[in-house]
Symmetry: C2
Subunit: 253 residues, 2 copies
Amino acid sequence: MGTTQLETVPEPKYWHLKTVLTEALDSEFSVGEILPNERDLAARFGVARATLRQALEQLELEGRLQRRRGVGTTVAPPRVGVAVGTEHHVWPGTAPDAWQSVDSTLDVPSAAVAGALETGHDEPVHIVRRSRMTHGQPVAAELLYIPQSSVPDLSAIDAPSGAARARAVLRELQRLGLEGQDSAVELGSARADDAKQLDRLPGAPVLVVTTRFFSQGRTAALSVATYRADTCRLTFGDSGGVEIHEDPERRAS
Amino acid sequence: MGTTQLETVPEPKYWHLKTVLTEALDSEFSVGEILPNERDLAARFGVARATLRQALEQLELEGRLQRRRGVGTTVAPPRVGVAVGTEHHVWPGTAPDAWQSVDSTLDVPSAAVAGALETGHDEPVHIVRRSRMTHGQPVAAELLYIPQSSVPDLSAIDAPSGAARARAVLRELQRLGLEGQDSAVELGSARADDAKQLDRLPGAPVLVVTTRFFSQGRTAALSVATYRADTCRLTFGDSGGVEIHEDPERRAS
């Protein structure tokens, strides 16, 4: 597996520091507490500030720390489990649904989205933007792409724009028979528009969940949802969530 | 949603550079091609090297670039879809299975794992290490925790250690009736042992999939699998994979 080379690479300094910091977080700090500033921390652990920063970045990746502008670095609460998979398939917007419609536009999607939807390259589709909140915090931003052929009876009269329009598009979509869905999860970075919705800066790490909804043998809708990677654990399956959280001690060992 | 403050924050310089770089990658470079060195790139785009590095890190997060020791920065191939969810639940190690057993030990797990398994704090459990390869590349490293009560008839005689022992543990586990399973996905960083197995450096971003297997009303086994976030897209659902990949143009817009 080509690991011989890696075996000779010594453990990076920040990695060891991360282990030490993790222990300190467990024993000395409580959730929400603000860490000392970088200079003091670097001095306490006898490391360069660049090394300290790398270790702090790692702990942020793992969801142990949060860095907030104007506040500083705080000890993060455990990640929130957010249910993504459903046992029985339902259309987006079918109650009970954790999402709120924000707005809806008719626009030409990217080539990749058009390809997945099998629409023509210049063919506009409905793009519904939705937002998901958990415990009062924004956790996900979604763009839902719906070809006009999936909602042929949609009229423009009742709700020309905004959240009401989005709900009208989803209502029409729900008239189709849903045959199945599949999802993929991957790491990404927040686009500017999603970042704003998620109360993050552009480029923040996110988990991107792409879901295809099938009806009449084709993709009737495509959802691209961006979840905050710092605060979310995505859950799939039978019982609505895995109780165990990543154990920091174990991961640092 | 508290976005007012963010709206006044200008788009970071590296973010704009990332957009420009993405366009250059699409139009001028092919998969596997080595990028010019950082000094030349910074000069070409008229930015500081620190800004360039931030943009390259973003593109690495998004799976567009790979940075390899001794090679440099190359244009990454599209991410590989790796099926994680299964329609019908099966025990780990049941064919067809993409995993290879590496070894098995009897050890006391972390407090979090012990809690999920409802074993006593000092009670050793079987820890099976497995490895998953796709297209000849290591894509995931897994630790599978199995309480001794789940495999009561396991004898130590036939296979005391190694991969054969791991297979013996899994064979015994498969004698239990599997009632269901659930999974959670979250962002993490590779531990030293997993990193070695994945041919990465410690701290590399990974997608951590935690799966609980239920039998007789309790958690009979717990899997903590670490997938390379740079090369993998985890797929769940009916049809074994979402064909669409994150569209770089769209994400950069």
